[in-house]
């Protein structure tokens, strides 16, 4: 079987369903609806029309020439998911699942969110389809992504701050799972990444596969050949699986994931699940995860809320194990430098999550040299991160000082 044809529930020894029995019927129902939708031309047509007239697909590819000067002179091509409606790749999966929720007759969707991008996309789809929407968000994240909380509220969603555990994305997922167990008759859990129990990793990947399908053609058209490397940031891993998928069977294309290394993978403060994790069970699947000796999940750390997650999707764990993809840690400082560099050389302010991939692109470009081509998943825009970035670069102090004088 080719790598692209893997459909779960297992990817090697990873994946499966480690959830309370109460959820199995809902997962079976979802899987069945998804299998039916996959082969239903009317579903594909409806989703394609939403992509075209609502999201703004296909997203363009931008060649980053001035940025490339810092990347060994190789060609750097940006797949612009930041230009999608709501500002990131997350909407691709959300629209697909929202259509499924409607088919299942569900009137309520719930979602977890870290950076708030998936929550915003879910709130957006709920508004579009007339569904009730509740978004669980760790209290720490509601603070560092306050702008996105306001966006979700304005869109009519209820944002529930999660105050237990580490108060970040992992705890938001726990809370969403608890809600789902109790309300599964009326509610679809719109999971926002390629993690969780089957069929989520496969389904979410498939809804994002449009990123790589479009980009593969766009790169071929632009350069006449496949890229030498494709790089994406990896939180749960959805934008990365989305862009990797079309290239899985192109053995000559290197697939590279940038994980959040926080203060560094050799410190206690990072979120580099693949580089430093061990196999275990978290949030419904067997995958790699950051955990202590007893199997208690460890807190992750990253400046980027969307990558601040101690788990990762099972397909990534498998791609790492078989050596088809490689994963490297990118520190907070390296990501923030790349964020500023892209802003100043190209006039594009990326999300902090995305900036991790941009650092990865700089390294790959330098390694490949002037003959190389690197395709980057520009997963989101940085509007939501302005406060964090302004604080990081001391711009708020500068502005305040300017006012005083």
């Amino acid at each position: 079987m080719s790598l692209r044809e893997q459909v779960g529930p297992y990817f090697g020894s990873f994946g499966g369903r480690f959830v309370p029995e109460s959820l199995i019927a809902a997962l079976d129902e979802l899987d069945e609806a998804y299998q039916a939708a996959r082969v239903d031309p009317s579903f594909a047509a409806e989703l394609a029309e939403l992509h075209r007239s609502y999201t703004g697909r296909p997203s363009i590819v931008t060649e980053a020439r001035r940025f490339a000067e810092h990347a060994g002179g190789s060609r750097i091509l940006l797949k612009r998911e930041d230009l999608n409606h709501t500002g990131s790749h997350k909407i691709n999966n959300v629209l697909g699942q929202a259509l499924l929720a409607k088919r299942l007759g569900k009137t309520r969707i719930i979602a977890e969110t870290g950076a708030g991008q998936h929550g915003v996309a879910s709130a957006t789809a709920a508004a579009l389809f007339g569904l009730e929407c509740v978004v669980y968000m760790g209290e720490v994240d509601t603070e560092r992504q306050a702008l996105n909380v306001a966006r979700m509220n304005l869109l009519g969603a209820t944002v529930v701050p999660v105050t237990v555990g580490s108060r970040t994305l992992k705890d938001a997922i726990n809370e969403a799972l608890r809600d789902w167990v109790a309300n599964v008759d009326t509610t679809h859990y719109l999971l926002g990444t390629v993690a969780g129990p089957h069929p989520f990793p496969t389904m979410v990947r498939d809804f994002h596969a449009v990123i790589g399908t479009e980009a593969r053609e766009q790169v071929l058209e632009l350069t006449g050949r496949l890229p030498d490397a494709v790089v994406a940031c990896v939180g749960g891993g959805s934008n990365a699986m989305g862009i990797f998928h079309a290239f899985l069977d192109d053995a000559e294309v290197r697939l590279v994931g940038s994980e959040a290394a926080g203060d560094g993978v050799d410190t206690l403060h990072h979120a580099a699940t693949i580089s430093r994790g061990r196999p275990g069970v978290l949030h419904g699947a067997r995958s790699l995860m950051l955990q202590d000796e007893d199997g208690q999940t460890m807190e992750s750390h990253s400046i980027s809320a969307g990558l601040d997650y101690p788990g990762v999707g099972p397909e990534h764990a498998w791609l790492a194990e078989i050596g088809r993809a490689e994963y490297h840690g990118v520190t907070d400082a390296e990501a923030m430098d790349a964020l500023r560099l892209l802003s100043r050389t190209e006039g594009i302010i990326p999300a902090i999550e995305t900036a991790h991939a941009l650092h990865g692109a700089l390294l790959l470009g330098r390694e490949l040299g002037p003959d190389g081509t690197v395709l980057v998943s520009l997963s989101g825009r940085g509007d939501k991160d302005m406060e964090t970035a302004a604080r990081y670069f001391g711009l708020l102090d500068a502005a305040a000082a300017g006012e005083d004088s």
């Binding site: 480690f18 959830v19 309300n183 275990g280 978290l282």
Partner: protein, 261 residues
């Protein structure tokens, strides 16, 4: 393989015209010593089987009362080995069987076989595994067989007939009938759904079906025991322990046990 003492305990209570009372408390809350005292107090006040919970960082089946207690235990530095220590101390003082309730990852990390061996050596009867479904339990089925341990799987109102059948086939000790589509926590009504699950479990051949989630009064215990073989109480006991210590747990247990009379 020896007969399950959990099954025998339940059967003897059923034969006596009632059913078993199963009480949950987490290890290490509010501290290790007190959790041992509290578990012993359960049995001294009419609880037939102890369900001893191991604190875990991501307890998706638990409501706020149990989350708060297990998080506090973890913050105090609970380690898995403390679970075995507590188990051994409890078993040295009471004859009642003790099932350990644990999410699956701690068992995987400890090593399934090593865990089973430590559990057996400490006098544990087996495991209740809220996030392990029979479909994923191949290794546990083999190891529990080898060590003669009980394995309690869950059955939900939404489970298909085929899944209930499987739960009955692979469970040993009892099948845990989830009373409602929800998580742990006290509830005013124990769902009518519980009656339905138990009756469907009977159709699938179950002779040992206990109902849990939401039970908090003697009256609810009595209602449940009209059709089920056991009633499982958790949050009510944890709340009593949090608010009034061991003496409050003792009186809560005694009060609940009145429902089995």
């Amino acid at each position: 393989m020896t007969a399950s003492t959990v099954e025998a305990t339940i059967a003897s209570r059923v034969d006596a015209g009632s059913g078993a009372l199963i009480g949950y408390l987490p290890v290490g809350f509010p501290d290790l010593d007190t959790s041992v005292e509290a578990a012993v107090a359960l049995v001294e006040n009419g609880v037939d089987i102890i369900e001893l919970g191991l604190p875990y960082s991501d307890p998706v089946m638990d409501g706020l009362a149990i989350q708060a207690a297990t998080q506090a235990a973890l913050e105090r530095g609970f380690r898995l080995r403390d679970g075995f220590t507590a188990l051994e101390r409890i078993r040295s003082r009471v004859d009642a069987p003790v099932l350990v309730m644990t999410y699956w990852n701690p068992v995987v990390q400890y090593g399934v076989e090593r865990f089973a061996s430590a559990l057996r050596d400490a006098g544990g009867a087996g495991l209740i595994t809220p996030d392990l479904i029979p479909d994923e339990a191949g290794e546990w089925l083999a190891v529990s067989e080898e060590f003669g341990l009980d394995r309690v799987f869950l059955a939900a109102p939404s489970s298909s007939a085929a899944r209930l059948q499987r739960a009955v086939e692979v469970s040993r000790g009892f099948v845990y009938a989830v009373s409602t589509m929800g998580i742990t926590g006290a509830r005013a009504d124990v769902d009518a759904a519980a009656r339905g699950v138990v009756s469907r479990l009977r159709d699938a051949g179950s002779t040992s079906a206990c109902v849990g989630l939401g039970i908090s009064t003697a009256e609810q215990v009595r209602d449940v025991l009209e059709y089920a073989d056991g009633a499982i109480v958790g949050s009510r006991l944890v709340t009593a322990l949090a608010e009034g210590g061991v003496s409050a747990v003792a009186s809560a247990a005694a009060e609940l046990a009145a429902g089995t009379a």
